[in-house]
Symmetry: C2
Subunit: 192 residues, 2 copies
C-alpha cells in the first residue's frame, strides 16, 4: 500500500497527498479502474518502444507516423519532446514526418549536442527526398539555442530550414500577452 | 496508449492534459517507474480487500488495526471514509478501534441509513467490552446529520457517545478563520 502510494506520488501532477487520494480511489474501484489500469500499464511496459526513425513512442517500430505512406516525406518537423509531437498531431495541421530530439541544448543542465538525437537528424535531412526541415523547438532560450545550432548543422545539407511563426495566440487577448510576443507580432505583421 | 491516458485521466487530481503528461513520464521511465507501478497495482488489485470488521482497506482481513492486540477494545472511532481513518492514524493520537461508515447520510445524493455500515456499528457497540464511541464524521451538514443519527441509534446500547472537539486548528491564524469556527472556539473556551 505504502509502496503504491510512493510510486503514484512520483507522477507529475501528483504529490504525496493526492497520491494517497488516488490510491484510495483506485482501491475502491477494483474492477472498473484498478485492474484495467494495471493491465494497461503492463501492456505499455511490454510494447511501447522508441521509434528508431523519429524518436516517437509507439507500440510499433517504425512508429505509426513514420510508417504512414500517405505522409509527405519531403518535410521533417523537429521537436524537443514526444509531447510536442503529439500536440502538433492534435492540431492536424502537419502531414509530414517528425524528428524528436529528446530535449534541448542546455549549458546549465549539461546537455550538449551529443546528448540529443541530432546526428540522426542530419543523416535524415541529407536524403534526396527531404526538401524542408521545420524547427519547432520551444520558444525558450534553450529551445531557440538548439534551433540555431541545428540550423548551422543543416546548412550544408541543401535543405530549406524554417521555424514556426511567432505572434498573438488564437483566442489570446492583447492585454494579457507579454511584451516579447506583442513585439514579435508587430514586427511580423501581415496585410489583411 | 489512448486507453492508458483515458484510465489515468479518471484518477482524482489528473485531467486529460496531466494524464497525457503522466503517461509520457511513465513511458520514459519504463524500468524505474512504469513496471514497478504496474506490478504494485496488480498486487493491490489481488490482495487489498475491505476489512469485514471495521471497513478499512488492507491486505489482511481483519485489517492490521483490527488485528492489533495492543489496541484498546473499549473505544470505537467512527469515520466516514478510509481516508479519514488514515488521517487519524497519522496523528498517532488514537489507539482504539475504528469503524468506517463508507460515506455520510445525504438526502441530496440519496444516501440513507441502509447504504452505510451502521447496523454493524450498532452490533459492535452493543458488545460488553465497548465503553465509548467517538463520532469523528466530517464537520459538514451531512457529516453532522450522520453523527446525530448514529448517536440516536446508539442511545440504547449503554455506551458513552462523544464527538471531536471544535476550535482553532493548530497553526491557525484567527484572522483567516471563519465565524463558525471562532464562535465554537469561544463557546468551548477552557481555563489555561
Amino acid at each position: 500500500m505504502e509502496r503504491l502510494i510512493g510510486l503514484l506520488a512520483k507522477l507529475p501532477g501528483l504529490g504525496p497527498r493526492s497520491a494517497r487520494r488516488a490510491a484510495l480511489y483506485l482501491l475502491k474501484r477494483n474492477d472498473s479502474l484498478l485492474k484495467p489500469l494495471a493491465r494497461a500499464l503492463s501492456v505499455a511496459a511490454e510494447n511501447i518502444r522508441t521509434c528508431s526513425v523519429c524518436g516517437n513512442l509507439d507500440a510499433r517500430d517504425p512508429c505509426g507516423v513514420c510508417a504512414d505512406p500517405r505522409r509527405d516525406d519531403s518535410l521533417i518537423c523537429v521537436v524537443e519532446d514526444v509531447a510536442d509531437m503529439w500536440a502538433l498531431e492534435r492540431s492536424a495541421a502537419f502531414r509530414g514526418r517528425y524528428h524528436v530530439l529528446g530535449g534541448a541544448l542546455s549549458a546549465l543542465d549539461g546537455v550538449g549536442p551529443d546528448d540529443l538525437n541530432i546526428p540522426a537528424l542530419v543523416a535524415r535531412a541529407g536524403r534526396a527526398e527531404v526538401s524542408e526541415v521545420i524547427l519547432a523547438t520551444n520558444v525558450t532560450v534553450d529551445g531557440q539555442t538548439t534551433a540555431h545550432y541545428i540550423a548551422d548543422r543543416l546548412a550544408e545539407c541543401g535543405v530549406t530550414v524554417s521555424g514556426l511563426a511567432h505572434g498573438v495566440p488564437v483566442g489570446g487577448e492583447l492585454d494579457y500577452l507579454d511584451e516579447g510576443t506583442l513585439s514579435q507580432a508587430l514586427k511580423a505583421r501581415r496585410p489583411v
